[in-house]
Subunit: 375 residues, 2 copies
DNA sequence: CCCAAGGATGTTTACGCAAACATCCGACCG
DNA sequence: CGGTCGGATGTTTGCGTAAACATCCTTGGG
């Protein structure tokens, strides 16, 4: 079957003869020249250019030691045949694929997506391709499965965008030469980690709110199993403790706007609550809706700060004060780190933090008079 | 340089002797066994298991003709050596990479991301990996560049998520056996296209609004260069014309919430305007804010319908009535289509549409009494 | 004028795998 | 009991490339 199919496609490959397009034709043609022959090889170019394959290789790789004259001839032959180096052969020979694998749980969070995009762009700039490995469910088994698939995959390095405690037992089978960089993790002692400075960002948010006069700051946290959420929560606690403020009970969401709404229903009922730090913008959005529906005005009655600065944040009602994450930079650093590790130029482990920047919009204001402040 | 580096990495590959980790060690070890030797080969497994390489291959590929006894031995040897098939060699031999390339412009639109995710998941299920090719700027040159990189890349097929008029001249250099499927295009006559049924969705939205009693429906369109936007606009026109309604002037945005806000400022000033169909949810969000700021209540004064049904849409103020796109299905069909094309089982071209579903929330209602309706 | 040096080019080989073909052996048939 | 068949396994070969080595030719110095 495949013989015939490919022969039909053959645009006049140097060696193969075209042989009609009848599917049933009992083709005596060499079977081996199946798919691969749809494209010209170095040998074909060499033949046409009247040189050796090695010379073609030299031209192809921009190596020196080729006359300008010869080079031109070879290039012409390449063009005529539509020659493209076969990356499989190249990879086999060179022992590297110039590809980075990215394992990510979900693409439904802005952060993951933006980071992925930045990684892809940075990688492309370095001449690397990015292979995506989605993990359907964030279980150990699934992660291990992804790694397992990755092992057979053509990658030189791996970047993991995920809560890392799922990683621990999973990496063991990775080929030793594959380097790993992790986003969103506290495993800086075992891997190279690049992340946003959750702590600094959170601290800025809390201080901003306290600075406006709020007695304390409530926190709408992300899911427990997320390191980012965990660190934001820890930092929130630390900032409040440090300032000697009361620690309100934690309200937990799951990153989704819907969960923010549910949490908001609780918070709206708390008279005391004049300032909320939401662990991401989506939850802040839900929170805004809940507060609105319960007649709590933002920012007059309640101030809200988000985290991420998604593009839509400036169009919320009201436009959301939030922490801007520089995902592009995170992605860029990930690629740099992993390439450095591959070249054995960088450190084996350690954490790099990218600062978050507080973006002031209209969802924060001093607390209402006679509100919590006056107590 | 690389010799030493790699030697240091070698964890005791079957053949190579470990030799300290001193970087400067003048290693007399075989140079050729550089990186590749960090992993065991079929031959190593064969040696350890006391069988031929071919038998290892058979086990590795699950071929028949191997005794259970032998198979177990081979598997044990594989495990002991941590054997992983070398995908480059495999690809070279088989002439296929089991990888699908995805070219996409930006990952900043929900649709692209969700589609990509679905593609990755479907591909994984079929045993295919997905290589991501971001195009920084949507120019012909950039697209051509992406295709060009793709040619040297290890992919068997390509899925393009992009406005297709940038494609036309760009595909010419693609290796003939690489199949292409396009999302969001009207080039069904040249490619296989999978897309959401923009027309049907839009029609449902317009009819819904007209059904509520609105005299006509305004349209907040997406950017001109987007096929999806164009089709939504066309369908909106058609639906209104068909119903014999007046065609209000087109208001154009660029998909962003910010542009929706700007457009909303205009629309808020139009007394006449009681119903708006926004070409996506983000613009609808901006629109909601603008209307709110100008005292136009939604849905009492103005009804708004979006497109996409992003997760946040249910948390807008008010929760947004919108058209749900089944991106997962689109992605799945893309993968199916491209695999079918590869296997020459499917049609060479043609368009597959995935229906959009109107999700009723709280942003639509009958027009205000004495409003546009009464005129 | 001859030979060494060095640049241009060609030849050989191996990367790891799997298709094609070859071989071996036991079982079953007449 | 010889032959044959078929399953299990081994051997050969080539995929396209690029490193290492070999060869050729030109050039320039002694």
């Amino acid at each position: 079957m495949e013989t015939v199919d490919d022969a039909a496609v053959d645009p006049g490959g140097p060696a193969a003869a075209t042989e009609g397009d009848g599917r049933g034709t009992a083709a005596p043609a060499p079977r081996r020249r199946a798919r691969a022959r749809a494209t010209a090889s170095m040998a074909d170019v060499a033949r046409l250019a009247g040189v050796s394959a090695q010379t073609v290789s030299r031209v192809s790789n921009g190596y020196p030691g080729v006359t300008e004259e010869t080079r031109r001839q070879v290039l012409a032959a390449m063009k005529e045949l539509g020659y493209r180096p076969n990356s499989a052969a190249r990879a086999l020979k060179r022992g590297e694929f110039r590809t980075i694998g990215v394992i990510t749980f979900t693409l439904s969070t802005t952060g993951n997506v933006r980071t992925l995009e930045a990684i892809a762009n940075s990688a492309a700039r370095e001449g690397y391709a990015v292979t995506l490995l989605p993990v359907a469910v964030p279980t150990q088994d699934e992660v291990r499965g992804a790694f397992s698939r990755l092992e057979e995959l053509a990658v030189d390095a791996v970047i993991v965008i995920m809560e890392v405690h799922l990683l621990d037992a999973a990496t063991v089978h990775l080929p030793p030469h594959v380097q790993v960089v992790v986003v969103d993790s506290d495993a800086g002692d075992r891997y190279t980690v690049v992340d946003t400075d959750q702590h600094g960002g959170t601290r800025a948010a809390v201080r901003h709110l306290l600075g406006l006069g709020h007695r304390t700051v409530w926190h709408l946290a992300g899911p427990e199993d997320s390191f980012a959420a965990q660190r934001r929560t820890d930092a929130w606690r630390a900032a409040l403790t440090e300032a000697g403020r009361e620690l309100p009970p934690l309200v937990r969401g799951d990153w989704s706007a819907e969960s923010g709404y549910r949490a908001g229903l609780e918070l709206a009922a708390v008279e005391d609550c004049t300032a909320v730090f939401a662990a991401n913008d989506q939850m802040a959005l839900g929170l805004l809706r809940a507060l609105h529906e319960h007649g709590r005005r933002v920012p007059e009655d309640v101030s809200v700060v988000g985290f991420d600065d998604i593009p839509e944040a400036s169009s919320f009602l009201p436009p959301l004060t939030t922490l801007h994450q520089d995902f592009a930079e995170v992605g860029r650093l990930c690629v740099q780190a992993v390439l450095r590790k591959m070249r054995q130029e960088g450190p084996e482990r350690g954490t790099t933090l990218v600062p978050a920047r507080l973006v002031l919009r209209q969802s924060t204001a001093p607390p209402p008079e006679g509100g919590a402040e006056g107590r």
